[in-house]
Every structure is written in structure tokens, then in C-alpha cells.
Amino acid sequence: MSGPSIMETLFQRTLEDLIKGIRLQLIGESAFISKAMEEIRKEIKSTDLQTKSIALQKLSYLNSLYFVDMSWAAFHCIECMSSSRFSLKRIGYVAVSQSFDEQTPVLLLITNQLRKDLGSVNEFEAGLALDCLANIATVDLARDLTPEVFTLLGSSKIPVRKKAIGVILRVFEKYPEAVRVCFKRLVENLDSPDSRILSAVVGVFCELASRDPRSYLPLAPEFYRVLVDSKNNWVLIKILKIFTKLAAIEPRVAKRIVEPVCDHMRRTGAKSLMFECIRTVVSSLSEYEIALKLAVSKIRELLVDEDANIKYLGLHALSIIAPKHLWVVLDNQEIVIKSLIDADANIQSESLRLVMAVISRSNVVDISHVLLSYGHKSDPDFCNEIIGSILSACSHNLYEIVMDFDWYVSLLGEMSRIPHCQKGEEIENQLIDIGMRVRDARLELIRVGRSLLIDPALLGNPYLYRILCAAAWVCGEYVEFSTNPPELVEALLQPRTSMLPPLIRAVYLQSVLKILTFCMYSHLQKQSSISFPSSHNLEGVMAECVSRRKTRESSDILTSAQDDVFNPMISENILCEEDIPVETKGENLFFEKNRFSQESIVNLLNAIESALEPLLGTLEVEILERARNVLGLIDLIKQQIPNHLSPEEESFSREASEVWKLIRSMNDAFCEELGPVSFTAQEKIQLPEGLVLEENLRELDSIYGILQPPLNFLPQREERVEELPDSEWRSRDDLEPSNESTSLLVEHRKRHGLYYLPSGVSNDYPLANDPRSGEHDYDENEDLIRLAAQSLAPKKKPNYSKPRPVVVRLEEGEATSHIVSKKPNSKYDLLSGVVQDVLQETNPMESSQKGKEKVSSDVPPGSKENLQDLVDPMGERSGSGKSKHRSHGKERGHKIPKKNDREKDENCERARQKGSHRLGRKKTRQRAEGQTDLHAHTPGQIPDLLL
């Protein structure tokens, strides 16, 4: 046994050998590593600890840089770590802190070893153990080792004490109860004369305060002393961070620190400290004019700096102040606009954010146009960023800043045509949303939708599909605003729609059905209302004949079926028109131009029929079903129409009545206006009795698992189709021109030559969005600056030709539910709860109030709505905001019970201890108390020193 072990020791590769071997790369990196791993696996089992440790060292090297799995070696790590020799111990510790996590099964075994090393007289050993604990602390480890860490907090060896302070952060995080033991000693370290200790402890408080500043308000005097006394920039930066948080919630702290912060700002030469001072001022001290003025002048210095870092930070500072003091941004607008064309993408997007911050009703039109024209020329990523921010700025709070929806809708259309626009989904949503909310914008929507649908080139760009889908839906839904419905039908059925994914094509077909219904309805309604034909003259007949001949010449689609179709009475009879009762919405709009003659209807029917017939063989269910629906309807209509067109008009009303009835009921169905749906709509529906929503549906997994393969099949096809780049689209087209589609294509091309390239191979379409060659980039950039500078300046009198149209707005709940509250973390709440307890122990009066506050945070999730009602913008920052966050935290705990089980348990336990006797009270009362208590006791926390 000892034989091979000695041999191994002698001939073992060291870490250096391993590194050299990898660098030599005689057999390739991965092959070498797997060979080395084989060796390591053998060596690590050695009984000789030296051999084992070298193997472990090599393993942790490979793990760290080549991501080789080392979780299997957990036990060997522990063996090395418990060696008495420092060199081996260190290797073991490094391996442990690198590879252990909460799931490591042997984790429990190291508690004792850690305890022993924490208590070691050797400062390096204690340091190793502390380093390790900082990396792998779990709830159990933190709880079991709290006493040792507490002892080290008072250690006379500075390096050890310093590390212990650093570790405290992790211990508190995992085991909040440790605060009761250690907090006092931690605070004492704030008084330490040693700058290193101070730096460590300030770092810890900075981290703690960033999670919940309110709990650390009582320590403000200590922090203040550090702020005034310390000479170390790094310490000052951390202290300023703490004060930024504190000043935001307590105005008296803000008042107190203005002077020292300004002092630092004037005196310091270090940019990092300067920037931190600026950040403190712009985030929390902006009400103090002296400080703000000084900060603004410093920001300007940053902005004109050559260094990209400094400039970026200057812009960043501007974006912090923008919501409160917009004038600062406007003062520096020239630099901001120039930064839009900076070479650095970070600076670009930061300045874009700033431009978006100054956007308002008066300048939104100009800014959007300038940005879009710039977006055309910039790289795709930034272009999409521009589009995205325009979309979100304009749609914010139900299109608050948009005055002219016609303009906005056409802007959306323009965006869709920008090369590499990838915001299809957002544009889709907004097109539909505007359609539902803004009645006055529908006419323009139809216009934009039409121009998008009718252009065959756009169908080649997969990014546009979602937008086309919305356009198709809009055109179907609001067809009554269209000037020429048959043209829409033609656009929706054009041959290249076969490139669309099935689900979007289904939307197209559904829109065809809607338009068809609408046309038929208008047609029949007109007929039935016509009083009569006896007087009908030759003129009408003549006109009809002429028009019929013309159609025949121009269109091959007409089938013989309509040859006997002849309706003399449809003619330009103005009287008829006036007789028509306007029943449907906006009907009169198109009647002037388009009168749904018998002829055009029949043409329409035939066109639809010929376009849809090939679809009957499709495999896509959605398409097949809709195509059949439409064709079925056409069949029905066709059976009836020839009859009632016979010259004997008496028979008309009787015979057509069935079609009439059918069409009318369908039209009624489509006429029903679709409105926006409130986000809270679901909550308003009462839960039916006996329906268990919270029950785990895991049993369904097995069933679903069986179903999955066939379900996956169809969508996969779709995805594949979508991923094809443009060029392949074209080649696909070239490869498989199915017979009927080519003939249709030729047909379509003949009539809409305008949209096709004039010459060349018949199947070669232009790319949807050919990136333009940017020749005069530089000059245009200059233009951009000039133009934008003009438009950014606030115009005093924006003159609007028309008032802002009504935007359908649902109840308040809709808007507020958008606001996503910050992710709360119950762990931190727990932590700050304990911290508050500890800090208040000196003041027994307040501990009873504390309990009440706790109760307020335990409001059951169901009452979330009510809570939100209470939250006013002001309250967000103070008491109620906090209690809201807490209740969210609870909710989360419920949702993911497994992960947070422990936390939740602790949480509940605490709640029980603290104020279970109060839980029975009415919720509203609890909330009210929670709020007033917070306001009542916070003043008490600030010692007089600061006032």
C-alpha cells in the first residue's frame, strides 16, 4: 500500500507541470485535461496527504479555469483542510470555498474544523477559515459559528478582526439572529482608530444600508463623524453611499450633511470621490441650492472631459437628476445630443435615456423624427434601442404625451419599415391597443395598415410578421373606415402571404371573413332600402354594360358563373344613397366612392374563392378551418345571389332574405366593438364554488408528457420557417414555385406592378428592408445636432390644430398595476427587523410599537389591492411603501414554498412571537396603525446630536 503511494509522490505532476503541459498542447487541450483528470482521480485517493493535496490543487486549478467538475472531490477537500500543515490546509480551504455550495452533502462535516481554525492562535489559519466562511456560509454554518465570529470581532490582531468584520455581512444574511449577538461589537468598531478596521466596517454598513436604510438611521451620528474625520477616499465613498440612502428618507440627515459633502466636493482631487459626492447630491440633496449648483458645475466638468469613463459618468449623473431638475439636462443638451453619435455604445444609450427624459407633449414629434432618422443610419442594436425607447416613452401611461394619434400611428408604420426593426411585438401591441382605445385614430390605422399589407416586399421580412398580423387584424376589425375594402381583401390574399407563419395567416383569413361580411352587408342593405326600379333607366343599364366589359378585359379571375349576373339598378343614383339609413358605424365614409355594386361583390367573391381554394389542402388546422368558413359562406351567398338578381324585383326581397338574415347576424357579431380589458378584470370575477385554483397540477405532467411530442410537431415547422434569412426565402421561392401560386403571383404582379421591381427575373423580389448606404453620414449628423438642439428647446406655444382625441381609459387599477414594485427579499426584511430590535433595545418605550409594525407587514396577500390604494406617491418612500414591500415578500414566500421554507418558517415564528394576539383585528386598522407608528417613532430614533 505504501509502495505505490511513495512512487506517486515522487513522480506526481505538480501544478506547474500541469500548466506547462496544457500550454504545450501536444495532444490538444481537452485530451490533455481528461488525461490529467484520470491522474488526479487516482492520486487524490492516495493515503499520503501531500500527494492528495497536490492532486486537489491541480483539480481546483482545472475547475477554476477550465470548468472541470470537482463536486465529487468534496470529501477530499475536507481531508486536506483538516491537515495540520498550513500549506496543505490552504489548498484544502481554497478548494472548499471554490466548490462547496448549499447542496454539498458533506457540508455538515466542516463545522467543527472551521470552529477549530477560527479559534486558532495562528492568524493565517483564522484568516483562511474566515475567507472560507465568507464564501460558503449557509444558515447552519452561520448559526453554529456565530459565537466564534463574535469573539474574533474583538480580536487584537487587526487582519483577523478585519476579516471577521467582512464575514459578518454573510453571517447576518444567512442567520439574522446573529445580529443580537454581534451588532453591538460591530458598531463599536466604527470608533476604531485603525483605518483598515474602519474601512471594513464601513463597507459592511454600506452593504447593509443599501438593503434597508431605515434600520440604520440611529447610527447616523457615528457615520457623520466618519464623514467629517476620515481622510481615506474609499471609506468616504462608502459613507457617502450610506448617507445617500439615509438622506432620502430623513430630511434632517440631509440638512446636516450638505455642508461636509460640499466641502469634500470642493477639496477632493480624486474623481471617484468627486463623482460619489455628485451622486449623493443629485439623488438626495437636490433641494439644497448651494449643493446642487456646485454639483451641476462639477457635472459639466465631467461632461467635457476627454476620458470616456468620466463623460459616461457625467451623463449618468444627469440621468439621475433629470426627473427632479430637468433644466440641468436642458442646460447641457448640446453635449447630450452630441453623445448620441459617440463611438461608445454605453454613452450612446445613456444619452438616449436622457433625451427620452426630456420628451414631452410639445417636443415628442420632433424628437421622434430626429431619432428615427438617426436610427436609420446607426447600427442595428442602437437603432432598436431607439425604437424601443420611443415606443415605451410614447405609450407610457396610456399614450400620455401623444396629442396627435394620426401622427403617432403613421410613425408606427414608419418604424415598421425601418431596416432591422426588431420591435415587432411591441408595435403589434400598440397598433391593436390604439385601435381599441382611440376611436379617432382608426381611420389612420386603416390607412397605415393598408399600406403595410399591400406591399408584397414586406412579406419577406420575418421581423415584420407580428406587425403585419396587427395590421391585418385592424383592417378586419375597423373595415368600415376603409375607402376600398375589396382592395384590402386582395392585399390579404396576395400570393406571397404563403410565406407567413400559419397562425398569422389565420388572422389574415379571419380578417378576410370580416371584410367580406361587411361588404355583403352593406351591399344587401343598400338593395333592400332601394325603393324602386321600375323607373330604372337605360342609362344605368348602359353604364353597367360598359363597366362589365371593362372588368372582363382587365381581369381573368372572373369566372363564367357571373356571366348572367346583371343588375341594372345599381348605378350612380344619388337618391339611393341618401335613402340609406346609416346604421353601422361610419358607413357613410366610403359610400361616396364605393358603392358595393353587384359587380364588385361578385368580383370579390370570386377573387376570394380562387385564392382560398388551394388552401383546402393545407395541413395547418387554423388556416384550413378559416378557409373553409369563408368558402362555406361564399357558397351560401352564391346560391342565393343569381336568383334575386333576376329582373323581377318582387322576388328579390323574399329570396334574398335568407342570405340577408345570415349576413346581418354575422355583421352584428362583428359589429360588437372590442374594448380594452383591464388588468384587474380577472380578479373581479367571483371564484366559482368548488373550484380549487391553488391545487397542484403536477399530476397533469404525466398526461401532458404523453401529449407533448405531437404538440411540438406543428410549431416546430413554424419556427424553422421563421428563422430562414431573407436570401433563403428567396431561394425557397425559386425552388418550389407551386403551379397555382405562380399564376396567382403573375396575376398580382400584373395589377400591382407599382410594388414590384420593374425589371429582372420574375421571382426576384426586393428585400423588404435594404439598408441604405450611408454616404453623407457626417453631414447628416451635423444636421441631426442642429435639428435636435432646436427641437429639444421647450417650445412655449405648441399649436395643435385639433384637440387630443379621447383615449379609452379603464379604472385606476389598470395604470397602477403596471408599476412593478422592487423585488423584495424577506431575508433582508427579517434582518432589518432584528437590527431595529437591537438598536431600540435601549429605548423600551418603542419596542411595543415595533410589534404593531410587524403585524402590519403580515397582512394576507388577498388585501394587496387595498394596500395599493393607500400608497400615494409620497408614501412610496416612507412607511406605507415599506409595508407594501413586506407584504409582497410574504407573497413570494407562499408561491415558492420549497425554496423559502426555512425563511418563511422563521418569519412566521417571529410574527407569532411579536404580535399574534393582534392578528385578529381588522386589517384596515392594522394598516393604519402600522403607518402612523412608523411616522411616530422614526423621529425618536434620531438622537438629538443631529438636530
Binding site: 509502495g3 511513495i6 515522487l10 501544478l15 506547474e16 500548466i19 500550454r23 501531500q50 490543487q57 477554476s64 479555469l65 470548468f67 500543515r85 498550513f86 500549506s87 481554497v94 455550495d101 448549499e102 493565517f124 484568516g127 475567507d131 465568507a134 464564501n135 487582519p159 478585519k162 476579516k163 468584520i165 467582512g166 464575514v167 455581512l169 454573510r170 483605518s195 483598515r196 474601512s199 471594513a200 463597507g203 459592511v204 452593504e207 443599501s210 477616499n233 474609499w234 465613498i237 453611499k241 474623481k271 471617484s272 463623482f275 460619489e276 451622486r279 476620458d307 470616456a308 469613463n309 463623460k311 459616461y312 459618468l313 463611438a343 461608445d344 455604445a345 454605453n346 454613452i347 444609450s349
Partner: protein, 161 residues
């Protein structure tokens, strides 16, 4: 706080990693792949900060090596740049005009030095001199142990002859 530290060569080779926030092995690989793609392609004169997944990554290139640290949104970027520089100076002091090869072959040393500098994602030792002294102290401990080990293995080796 600092979430992780990465040292990557200009060719995209990872030279050192240290994680202060929990990342699984899979995530680690992904993070490195994403960040090297993001950082190595950036021009020299651009700013040293990259926004990434809601965090900020501060990086600086020294010779052929990129030093990257990932921090929270509201941390001070310039301070972190200074910390990076501080680390580099400490390495320089230890190795004597440090180069990439030093870090390749003394990977673990660079790691120990980093451990003295940062703890739990916070700067814990602002003095270069003291870090050097601490590392020297540990080294002497290790040297002593090594000598001892060598002598033992020598004895055994002789005994088995």
C-alpha cells in the same frame, strides 16, 4: 458589492476567476462566455464600463490581460477601477513587474493575494504594503512546511532504495 472577479487574456483565455455571489458551474461558464464576447470586442478608447444583465462590469486592460469586476448598478465605477489598479500594483509588488506568464504559472498566488484584498465582495485591505507582508508571512509558513515535507520524502525515498 463585487459579485465576481475575472482575469481574461486578450485571446479570451481565462486566467483567474473568483465568485463572491453564488453561481452554479453552468452559470459561470455562461457568464464568462458572455462577458468575454462583450469586453474583448470593445475598442481601446471606449469607456471601461459595460452594462450587463442589470449589473455593471468594470474592466481594465493591463498589457494583454483584462481585469474585470462585476458590481451593482449604484456602486462607484471609478472606485472599482481604483481597486483593480490596486490589485495590479499589489501583484506587481509581489512578483516584481508582473506579466501574464507570472499569473499563469502562479495562478494560486494571484488567488491568495486577491483573497487578502477582497472579502465577501468588499475591499478589506487598502494597504499594498500590508497585503505584501501578509502574503510573505504565509509563504514563509509554506516554505517551512515544504522543507519539512521534502526532508521526510527524502528519508522515505532513501529508505525504500
Amino acid at each position: 458589492m463585487i459579485h465576481f472577479v475575472l482575469l481574461v487574456s486578450r485571446q479570451g483565455k481565462v486566467r483567474l476567476t473568483k465568485w463572491y455571489s453564488p453561481y452554479s458551474q453552468k452559470e459561470r461558464t455562461k457568464v464568462i462566455r458572455e462577458l468575454t464576447g462583450l469586453i474583448l470586442t470593445r475598442g481601446l478608447k471606449l469607456c471601461n464600463f459595460v452594462e450587463w444583465r442589470g449589473y455593471k462590469v468594470v474592466y481594465k486592460r493591463y498589457a494583454s490581460l483584462y481585469f474585470c469586476m462585476c458590481i451593482d448598478q449604484d456602486d462607484n465605477e471609478l472606485e472599482v477601477l481604483e481597486i483593480i489598479h490596486h490589485y495590479v500594483e499589489t501583484l506587481d509588488r509581489y512578483f516584481g513587474s508582473v506579466c501574464e506568464l507570472d499569473l499563469i504559472f502562479n495562478f494560486h498566488k494571484a488567488y491568495y493575494i486577491l483573497d487578502e484584498l477582497l472579502l465577501a465582495g468588499e475591499l478589506q485591505e487598502p494597504s499594498k504594503k500590508i497585503v505584501a507582508r501578509l502574503i510573505a508571512g504565509q509563504d514563509s509558513l509554506v516554505e517551512a512546511a515544504k522543507e519539512e515535507a521534502n526532508s521526510i520524502s527524502n528519508i522515505i525515498a532513501q529508505a525504500t532504495k
